[in-house]
Symmetry: C2
Subunit: 388 residues, 2 copies
């Protein structure tokens, strides 16, 4: 027995065993690290995408979170309605008219935000400009009912207090958004309708106008066209109450605004003339808090436009807020989930504008176009009409 060989052999073996140990130990450590990394990834994945949400949370290829304006504490977006607005359907002169009016309104609202006024002020001021323009289906320019009347609806909400005001079935109020604000601020109520709401308007010295004020040639022509089509369709078969609502162009033009002011308060407002040829005192989503309008300082402010019945059934504005509150979704993602999936799946069309508590802007619509404007990171107004 050669002990030196034995020692040598022994130390070679020891080294071998030692190397096996370290190899195994590093494998063990590596496995541990991989497992740790996987656990961490799993944590991220499960927090960001709860399992029961996978079905509804497909990818949003078009998602883009627009940045808030120059001052990150301010956010301002307006819309002038969603609908079938294909490129080329407006003459250059018409398009310029829309763009100029949207720019005027978004700048007017943003200006008061910069001056330190409230989000509610900005929302009201911008919406009044759109209501006073015959281009949009709100205030002057409202569409006609089946009976050839104009019935106006509006609502506003204060994200700080969750106070809200809504009015429906108005016929003489020049600026429904201002009456909605008065209901919110000067009454214990949230919603007033019809003659009662106008009686309140009188008491609050809100400007009333003769019904003739709302008459505009293009809207009158639209009604006559729809009535003619309805008559033709009904010849030989029963009149369908669907005829008016089935035509997308009869639903567009609602206006709205959302704001984040320097105090961190969110506000949202919406105003509409409803639907051409509407009957039976039909009310859409514009005056329904949670459907057409919602604001909550903990989440976001939303104003909607589109086929109102679907927005009511889904509670669109409230649902976007809930996705932010309960799922910690980004505003654009929440807006796209509700508009491009839920609304789309239910068969509705339209869109929303939104701003969250950080000033991030969300815009989403599943219609051909949506008149919209916001203030970009340079403090300049951006006006958009079509899909891209």
């Amino acid at each position: 027995m050669d002990s030196s060989w034995d020692r040598q052999r022994g130390s070679e073996l020891s080294a071998f065993i030692y190397s096996l140990f370290t190899l195994n130990y590093s494998l063990f450590l590596m496995a541990h690290r991989i497992n740790f990394a996987l656990s961490f990834l799993l944590l991220i994945v499960t927090v960001a995408f709860p399992l029961n949400g996978l079905a509804q949370k497909a990818t949003f290829p078009e998602s883009k979170t627009l940045q808030g304006p120059q001052n990150p504490r301010l956010g301002f977006v307006i819309h002038g309605g969603a609908g079938v607005i294909k490129k080329g359907s407006l003459t250059p002169a018409q398009e310029k008219e829309y763009r100029d009016k949207l720019a005027e309104a978004v700048l007017a609202g943003y200006k008061v935000l910069q001056e330190g006024q409230s989000g509610l002020d900005a929302v009201e001021i911008a919406i009044r400009i759109l209501e006073d323009s015959p281009l949009f289906n709100a205030g002057k320019g409202a569409v006609f009912t089946h009976e050839g009347k104009n019935e106006l609806d509006s609502s506003i909400m204060d994200g700080k207090t969750l106070a809200a005001g809504a009015v429906a079935g108005l016929r003489h109020v020049k600026n429904p958004i201002t009456l909605a604000r008065a209901v919110m601020e000067k009454s214990p109520h949230v919603m007033m309708i019809g003659d009662g709401a106008e009686k309140f308007a009188v008491e609050q010295k809100i400007e009333l106008v003769d019904e003739k004020y709302f008459w505009t040639q293009p809207r009158w022509d639209s009604l006559q066209k729809v009535l003619k089509e309805e008559k033709e369709k009904s010849e030989g078969k029963k009149v369908s109450v669907n005829s008016a609502s089935a035509e997308p162009s009869n639903r567009f033009g609602t206006v709205g605004a959302v704001a984040l002011d320097k105090y961190g308060n969110l506000a949202a407002g919406t105003s509409t003339g409803g639907m051409t040829n509407k009957k039976y005192g039909r009310v859409g989503d514009a005056p329904i808090i949670g459907a057409g309008t919602y604001a909550n300082n903990n989440t976001c402010a939303v104003s909607a436009t589109g086929w109102g019945e679907f927005f009511i059934r889904l509670g669109v504005a409230r649902d976007i807020s809930a996705l932010i509150e309960y799922r910690a979704m980004a505003i654009q993602q929440a807006a796209d989930l509700v508009i491009k999936q839920k609304l789309q799946n239910l068969g509705g069309d339209g869109g929303i504008i939104a701003v969250d508590k950080f000033g991030n802007i969300g815009i989403s619509f599943n219609s051909e176009g949506m008149y919209r404007a916001y203030i970009n990171s340079d403090g300049k107004p951006v006006v958009e009409i079509y899909k891209d």
Copy 2:
């Protein structure tokens, strides 16, 4: 050199090395398993308790998930309004009247569910019974407006399709819930108000009655009392539009029902006469889809009663549905979070009844009492009025 020793020594070493391998391998496997188990636990924990939910998920010591009825596929709950209903404030005879009528209504609705009719049928039938009773503030028994009129609001929703119908400002419709259902099923609209809604009622051959039908002595006396108080309060100071709404007893009595039928479809409905001495065409939460009424087969059916303005601002019914949809909350927990925390914190009062897609019942209110009834696990009606 003894080769046999060497072989022996070699094989001992081989065995030792082998044992080290297996030991390390088992350690590795064990570590892997522990890590896997931890990852799995982490998955469970993060799915069940999303991190951003911890803050709002305090315990609900009073939580109790009532079991659904005998047939686990059926669920039926009704309410006759929430308000200041202290023990002893009703005479035994009065209390018996309420209990008998609630039992009649809950059994009538449950019977049609057992017979295989839809949840919508059960909701409509039960609410019609409560509307026809002068005990509740809906249909006959509606409270009076400031002008001494009755203005009725109602809504209904189908959880299967999210179809909904709502009516407000009715003065001649005997059963507003039936008109709400007609709006849902026979028109493309969700909401109709005032004269227009009644015109639709005529076309749909819905029963109309003279305004006198709604006149009842106790409600008339309530109005006179409130008007007298208002006059006294206003002497020497400005009339407050708050006076009527500040008195809780003027807000209670709304009726509602929620059902899960044998087909797994949820339905909810609500009907009200509004608020004593209400002015300006005020509308509460009863006809607001998402506030007073909501149904969605994926979550639950809810009907609310209470201070309507707060229910609109919070979007109470829609919020309970959202907590189930996005937070996987149990129905009773979701109901308590919205009523006992959110509503309470905002200063509102009232309550809700709900049933989820499994037939679990949720009942929550922060008022002194709520007239309510449901079918217990023996298929028997349970009628409750007070807190306990």
